[in-house]
Amino acid sequence: MDVYELVRGPFAWMALIIFVAGSLYRIISMLVTRKKEPALYPSTSFKGAVRSILHGLIPFGSTYMRRQPLFTIVTIGFHLSVIILPLFLLAHIVLWYESWQILWWSLPDLLADLMAIWVIMACIYFLGRRWMVPEVKKVTRPGDILLPAIILLTFLTGFLAYHQWGPYRPIMILHVLAGEILLIAIPFSKLGHMLFFMFSRAYMGAEFGKVLRARDW
């Protein structure tokens, strides 16, 4: 079997299915558990929930962002890029068209390059922070190093493959594999905040807004 075709075909399907099914499972089981355990049932304050989500999404919309401006700028660029880049990269769009005949708008290559560099630098910054900032180091577990490292690997290999720097095929295969590992990891690791941040923000916002009458941002 051709290794590239293996990772691009069956492995990609497997990763996609695990990502979708795993995400649904995690969200549904969370909603079911909420009903079973009244102690965890959140205070219902729609206004508080929405306010907390918005303050968490808007750049510098919360105290914890304003207190560390560098981290905020790095992380906002990182999060925007890590979502937008894979979805709107020309190379990915061409592959989706080949597989499913769907076609949409692609990012200019220069912008895509800058976004990839941003993600790579951000991952190095995050890893350095985990290493060097004492209060962050204290709460760091292996997964907190591993996940940014895999994200770094995914975007670095993608960047190298686009420029065709280094051995092209092995880099390409590594790129696809790393991306698939990330996709599988989303529902089952800290990357799950992609699925859960709305719920946890809403929960905290509702608790703080209604019960404590305070801001949680």
Binding site: D2, Y4, E5, R8, L90, A91, V94, Y97, E98, L103, D109, A161, H163, Q164, Y168, R169, M172
Partner: protein, 138 residues
């Protein structure tokens, strides 16, 4: 003797010319550079060096119509008409038109999909399926 030699030369010459005339592939370029900046504008990926020779050999059984196809006037089916071989961009343009896919998708649909099918059916020495396999940076 001289007359005999020149007659022989003419005969041998005609045989060679005749034989060459029967080989349509001899009149074609061996490698085409696929860039089409007239359609795509400035290219976002490196141009492709396409070996026509390799493909006439490997597609000997499938026929030239795999690439050189035109819609039949009556049925609309894609058919091969010998002597009327056209380049892709004569029908496939920057955007999809009626039943003709856009030029980029037409190329990828024919090249990559065919290579992939070959690999799936066990021919691991088929052509590239990665982007950089064809779009090589020089």
């Amino acid at each position: 003797m001289r007359i005999k030699l020149s007659i022989l030369t003419v005969i041998i010459g005609s045989v060679i010319v005749g034989a060459v005339g029967w080989q349509p592939s001899m009149a074609q370029e061996e490698v085409y550079i696929l860039a089409h900046e007239d359609v795509f504008g400035s290219l976002r990926r490196p141009e492709v060096n396409f070996s026509h020779e390799d493909h006439t050999v490997s597609l000997e059984n499938s026929g030239c119509g795999v690439c050189h196809h035109t819609p039949d006037d009556k049925t609309g089916q894609l058919v091969y008409s010998e002597g009327d071989e056209r380049g892709c961009k004569e029908c496939h343009d920057l955007q999809k038109e009626d039943n003709a896919p856009a030029l980029r998708e037409a190329y990828h649909g024919n090249c990559t999909n065919c290579h992939r099918k070959q690999i799936k059916s066990g021919n691991l020495k088929s052509g590239p399926t990665t982007c950089g396999g064809c779009h090589k940076k020089s």
